[in-house]
């Protein structure tokens, strides 16, 4: 009986680790997709109707996943408190964090032309990262999950 429980526990744990790894890559891809989408929202709203930043965020925040919503929340807080925005996410690289932070620091502070080039530059940089993240999610994410399944199966056989 104890052996059966142990086998089930080990199997679950290894598969769970693999699933978590897969999720990591998925979330990495999702947050970058959200930032790129946010840039698109900014471009259309700033270019055509020059809507204030606060309104753009308020109207579009539900389009994004929890991870990026947290980043937006921190940005709005920084505006209210005159503080500096801090991009906290364990899913993206420091370089991408810096790009997003630079975008937020300068967002809303210049005229339409300068805002456009700021947002477009950030979007292009992040788009490259997004493509890489999508590839990683497809390859590494799936591989990690499959590997965890195989490993779990192998461990079970060895234990039996």
């Amino acid at each position: 009986m104890v052996k059966v429980i142990l086998i089930v526990a080990i199997f679950s744990l290894v598969v769970y680790i693999g699933w978590q790894l897969k999720q990591f890559y998925k979330k990495q891809e999702k947050i970058l997709t959200d930032v790129v989408l946010f840039c698109e929202c900014l471009l259309s709203n700033i270019n055509f109707i020059q809507k204030p930043i606060g309104e753009i965020i308020e109207e579009n925040k539900d389009k994004f996943a929890k991870e990026f919503r947290e980043v937006l929340k921190s940005f709005v807080k920084s505006l209210e408190e005159d503080g500096e925005v801090e991009v906290k996410s364990r899913y993206i690289t420091d370089e991408n964090k810096r790009t997003i932070q630079n975008l937020f620091i300068n967002l809303g502070k210049t005229d339409v032309l300068n805002q456009n080039s700021l947002i477009e530059n950030s979007r292009e940089t992040l788009k490259i990262s997004e493509t890489e993240a999508r590839e990683e999610s497809k390859t590494k994410g799936r591989a990690a999950f499959k590997l965890s399944l195989c490993l779990a199966g192998l461990l079970c056989i060895l234990l039996i």
Binding site: I46, Q50, K51, P52, I53, G54, L79, E81, D82, G108, K109, T110, D111, V112, L113, Q115
Partner: protein
């Protein structure tokens, strides 16, 4: 109102140490003491409130000025760039921020202002019914409003007076269904922010914000069929032409002009013809003697005195 545009530390001083209703202006110049107009007198803004000692004054820096401009623009400078190009921003509550800095010019066109060097925050004050005693002089025997020019030196409350006049005329004409059109070229009268009037111009007025007088008069008459048009600060030849055109179309015009008195107005060359033609039937001269919105004298179209304070 000020809490939305000032940094917390500065707002706390005004909130805790001063009476906001007595505060008319805050001037912040880069690396210089902040000066305020408090109850009609100039003071330095200090940690303890007001001070006459420059050493106690709070010094404005680049960060403070940038922060105020950014907040006043609702964190979106691009959204107010058209105003910024003209050297001001209208913020919540009708607060008007005059801005100096470096003009960015491309092909002879102003693109924007950057590196802000100084700002002047003007806090509007409504003086309810300040125009009411004058109203009887501004109407004909039949009770119709006459073409009127409000003459005032800067800071004597011509916009305050005009705003109140619009509201009072609106109330009076309610039964007559008069259409009132407000041309708020510099967002000073109704101070519209995203389509919402921050300062009351009554329930019976339509407001066109940001347009030149020439455009406002021409298109406003076509689009809104107004009976009375109100606008601020006639100064250019085009403004005068627009007024003449509106007046000849049967639309009543009530406007303001920067001048100390009627004599000074007559010296302004652009007003020569319009004064000779007798387009304006009434002239009200304002002063700050008893606070903004005090009127000193009222004249008719022949410059005969109807009222003297």
């Amino acid at each position: 109102m000020l809490s939305k545009i000032l940094p917390e530390a500065l707002w706390a001083i005004i909130r805790d140490k001063l009476n906001e209703t007595k505060l008319y202006e805050i001037r912040a110049r880069r690396d210089s003491p902040i000066v305020i107009d408090y109850a009609g007198k100039g003071y330095f803004l200090s940690v303890e409130g007001i001070s006459t000692n420059e050493k106690e004054a709070i010094i404005a820096d680049e960060k403070l000025i940038n922060s105020i401009v950014f907040k006043a623009s609702n964190n979106s400078v691009y959204a107010v760039n058209e105003q910024l190009k003209q050297g001001f921003i209208t913020a919540y509550g009708g607060i008007r921020i005059g801005i100096c800095g470096e003009l960015v010019i491309e092909n002879g066109q102003i693109i924007t202002i950057r590196n802000f060097s100084s700002i002047n925050i003007r806090i509007p004050h409504e003086v309810k019914n300040c125009s009411l005693p004058a109203l009887k002089f501004l109407t004909s025997d039949k009770g119709d409003v006459l073409n009127t020019l409000v003459i005032s030196p800067p800071g004597a409350g011509k916009t305050t007076f005009l705003r109140d006049l619009i509201e009072n005329i609106g109330i009076r004409s309610e039964s007559k269904k008069h259409n009132l059109l407000v041309l708020d070229e510099r967002y000073e009268i109704a101070a519209s922010v995203q389509g919402r009037n921050m300062l009351s111009v009554g329930k019976f007025s339509d407001v066109i914000s940001g347009a030149t007088k020439e455009f406002g008069f021409r298109e406003g008459i076509r689009a809104m069929r107004p009976d009375i048009i109100f606008c601020d600060e006639l100064a250019l030849e085009d403004d005068i032409k627009a007024v003449s055109l509106a007046s000849s179309s049967g639309v009543v015009v009530v406007s303001t002009v920067h001048a100390k008195d009627l004599t000074e107005l007559k010296k302004k060359s652009v007003f020569k013809n319009i004064l000779e033609e007798g387009v304006f039937k009434r002239f009200i001269v304002l002063s700050r003697v008893n606070g903004p919105g005090t009127y000193d004298a009222i004249y008719d179209e022949n410059f005969s005195l109807l009222y003297l304070r």
